[in-house]
């Protein structure tokens, strides 16, 4: 077995806080009605800062993280899929969506720790946005499923499918199109909840979201250090906060603390993977039921630093004049009025890196190449994710782009939320072949 230098390592201190925050989140939604609070459902990308204007007692549940949570628990997942297929839906649909619907069909609710609770807690309203073909349809079916159970759930969905503008800001008419929908949305929220809308809370939430999403990017940027202070497997449990509550003050505080701890790890040269000697990034959501694949990689001294997905799903980035890809800088002014707040959050969101590839594969490739360069990456593992049309779209083009730039690429097929579509032994065998083809040997069994 080849020898390699070992870096010091230690677990993250913030770990328990992260777990606690997640637990509180799911329970908060579950018990909201016990104290007259509101609860809504929508995607991780929805403009979650807007419903915040309804009051401080507004709880949400975002679909994708919930779908992923389900995927962690294979037995429950397969029950969900059976229910969805029995209802006549094709098994080729978005896996998160099927996990989520399955949970409703089974009338069971699963907590972050795997505890299964009877009765799926229906939301008071649905607040979603739509850029991938399934986003709006997902909640339309949720609405339909609840209706067949006799519950009317009003739904509002914001269309953000206006394209992506690489460098200069989006044209005004596109920004306005989204802002107008949000304006109508606020009236709609007042109507369906009967509550008075508070612009102050809106401005707070918008500012929180901008800070949280920029802070997460700063945390990811710290992973440029050698050895990497974080590995992707642990990042999954950290970025999730942004997918759950990017507009909440707890989220901002959490990422501030996290940033401090990671900076300290970098200062002290603490590694996520002690025998780090080969740095990779991945792409799209992982097959959640099979995260041990990362442990397998460590046996080769391979560390996954993250991915455009973990960095850019929630994190906000921009190209600096010197051509580097860096955390997006906050505007100088915090918004003071509804108009300012809406415009600010739309302009901010329109540049979400994970939206680029929906329209321009070249742009996603460009960002991936920036990561390869700035994070000192040796190879890219592309997860051809059968579970997600949205994030796998154009992935074959990204592969070609990376290869053209001379970056070794390992594509593997799988599914983020449907274990039937991931062949663990086969994938490991192919991964082994890839590692040998780039000259890596196993360091330990």
């Amino acid at each position: 077995m080849a020898q390699t230098k070992e870096y010091p390592t230690e677990p993250l201190k913030i770990w328990n806080e992260a777990k606690d925050l997640r637990r509180k989140y799911y329970e908060g939604y579950l018990t909201a009605h016990e104290h007259g609070a509101l609860r809504w459902a929508g995607g991780a990308w929805s403009f979650s800062a807007i419903p915040a204007g309804l009051g401080n007692d507004v709880y949400c549940i975002t679909g994708e993280p919930y779908g992923a949570t389900v995927a962690f628990f294979k037995e429950f997942t397969s029950k969900c899929h059976d229910a969805v297929e029995a209802a006549g839906f094709p098994r080729t649909l978005c896996a998160y969506m099927r996990n989520y619907w399955g949970s409703i069909l089974l009338d069971k609710y699963i907590l972050a720790d795997g505890t299964i609770v009877d009765h799926y807690p229906a939301p008071d309203f649905i607040w979603q946005d739509h850029i991938c073909c399934s986003h709006g349809k997902w909640y339309q079916v949720v609405k339909w499923l609840e209706e067949t159970k006799g519950k009317k759930v009003p739904m509002y969905c914001v269309d953000v499918s206006v394209g992506y503008s690489p460098d200069e800001p989006l044209e005004t008419y596109k920004i306005n199109y989204i802002v107008q929908q949000l304006n109508d949305g606020i009236d709609w929220l007042e109507k369906v909840t009967g509550r008075k809308y508070d612009d102050k809370l809106l401005c707070e939430a918008v500012w929180n979201e901008m800070r949280a999403t920029s802070l997460w990017a700063e945390v990811c940027a710290l992973n440029q250090a050698v050895p990497a202070p974080l590995d992707e497997k642990s990042m999954y449990s950290l970025y999730v906060m942004g997918t759950l509550m990017k507009h909440r003050p707890e989220c901002v505080t959490f990422y501030e603390k996290l940033k401090a701890e990671v900076e300290d790890r970098v200062r002290r040269g603490i590694a996520a993977v002690p025998n780090e000697r080969f740095r990779v990034i991945t792409d799209t959501q992982p097959p959640w039921g099979f995260l041990q694949i990362f442990r397998e990689m460590e046996k080769y001294g391979v560390v996954s630093l993250g991915s455009l997905y973990t960095y850019g799903l929630i994190g906000m980035w921009e190209y600096r004049p010197d051509g580097t890809w860096a955390p997006k800088q906050l505007p100088l002014e915090k918004p003071q009025t509804r108009e300012e707040a809406l415009k600010a959050i739309v302009e901010w969101t329109a540049h979400r890196p994970e939206w680029a590839h929906f329209y321009l594969p070249e742009l996603k490739t460009k960002m991936m190449l920036s990561i390869v360069k700035q994070w000192k990456v040796n190879a890219v593992l592309l997860h051809y994710n059968r579970g997600c049309e949205g994030l796998s779209v154009h992935i074959a083009e990204n592969r070609l782009g990376l290869l053209d730039a001379g970056v070794p690429v390992f594509p593997f097929e799988g599914n983020m939320g449907d274990e039937r579509e991931f062949d663990m032994p086969g994938t490991l065998a192919r991964l082994t072949a890839f590692f040998s083809s780039v000259g890596l040997k196993k360091l330990r069994e």
Partner: protein, 265 residues
């Protein structure tokens, strides 16, 4: 110096004894039974007898193939190193045909495409995932449905010139399509051709992922099937070269790697 390469495949074990990294002394193969180690050892001993050598006269042995782990550092073969199929393939074919840029290896249960770099290294590769419609078994399954011997399939296909698109989603469903074609009075020749076309299509679309750069070399058991080469040639629009012993390239590659390992000492 004598080195050996052992390729423990899904159906057959193949072995090559090599002298000074170039002269092939012996080739041998045998069926892999349930006891993989045993079958491998049998072939190994057969080879030693053929070449009239003893184990200790072999300086280094490298194993490849899906059963490679079993003989790794495990006497009597006691392979010193194991390498994945794609690595061995590239090495072996490069040795035989130095102009090779693309290797297509179609075995019993796996189809592979390898982009070969300078010195026979692997630049990129692809392996069929989750469905066997692009592997040797496909032809065998179809042969049964057609009620002809596997070895007759290729020659049969060559007799036909008609094009019948066949939906090769799944070996067994392709089989039911074969049945449908038979019921529709399509001649066995045409069906056989449709089968080979479908499989060539599957392989081609997979290999195109790594890109097809000349020279293109086809190896593995299926390379011996004459019916498979014309449609593949058409799909890739490239000449297809086939070495004399296409099923031994993996073992040969392993033997060469063994030689190089010794050289580095």
């Amino acid at each position: 110096m004598i080195t050996a390469g052992v390729d423990v495949g899904a159906k057959y074990s193949k072995i090559v004894l090599l002298e000074d990294g170039k002269n092939i002394l012996t080739r041998a193969n045998g069926v892999v039974g349930f006891d993989v180690g045993k079958s491998a050892v049998e072939v190994f001993e057969k080879a030693l007898v053929d070449a009239n050598l003893k184990r200790d006269q072999i300086s280094q042995i490298v194993a490849t193939g899906m059963g490679r782990k079993i003989i790794h550092k495990n006497p009597p073969i006691n392979a010193g190193e194991i390498v994945p199929e794609v690595i061995a393939d590239a090495k072996g074919v490069f040795h035989l045909i130095p102009t090779v840029k693309t290797v297509i290896d179609v075995g019993a249960e796996e189809g592979r495409g390898v982009k070969v770099g300078e010195k026979g290294g692997v630049k990129d590769f692809v392996i069929n995932e989750r469905c066997a419609a692009g592997a040797g078994t496909f032809i065998e399954t179809m042969a049964r449905a057609l009620e002809v011997r596997v070895e007759d399939m290729g020659p049969l296909a060559l007799k036909s010139t008609n094009v019948i698109p066949m939906n090769a989603q799944c070996c067994v469903f392709a089989e039911s399509e074969v049945v449908t074609l038979i019921h529709a009075k399509v001649s066995k020749e045409d069906v056989a051709k449709a089968i080979h076309d479908a499989m060539a299509g599957r392989i081609a679309s997979m290999v195109l992922r790594v890109g097809v750069e000349k020279d293109v070399v086809l190896v593995g058991g299926v390379a011996r099937n004459p019916g498979f080469i014309p449609p593949l040639k058409k799909e890739l629009n490239a000449e297809i070269l086939v070495p004399e012993y296409p099923e031994y390239t993996g073992a040969l590659g392993a033997a060469i790697i063994a030689f190089e390992m010794e050289g580095q000492k």
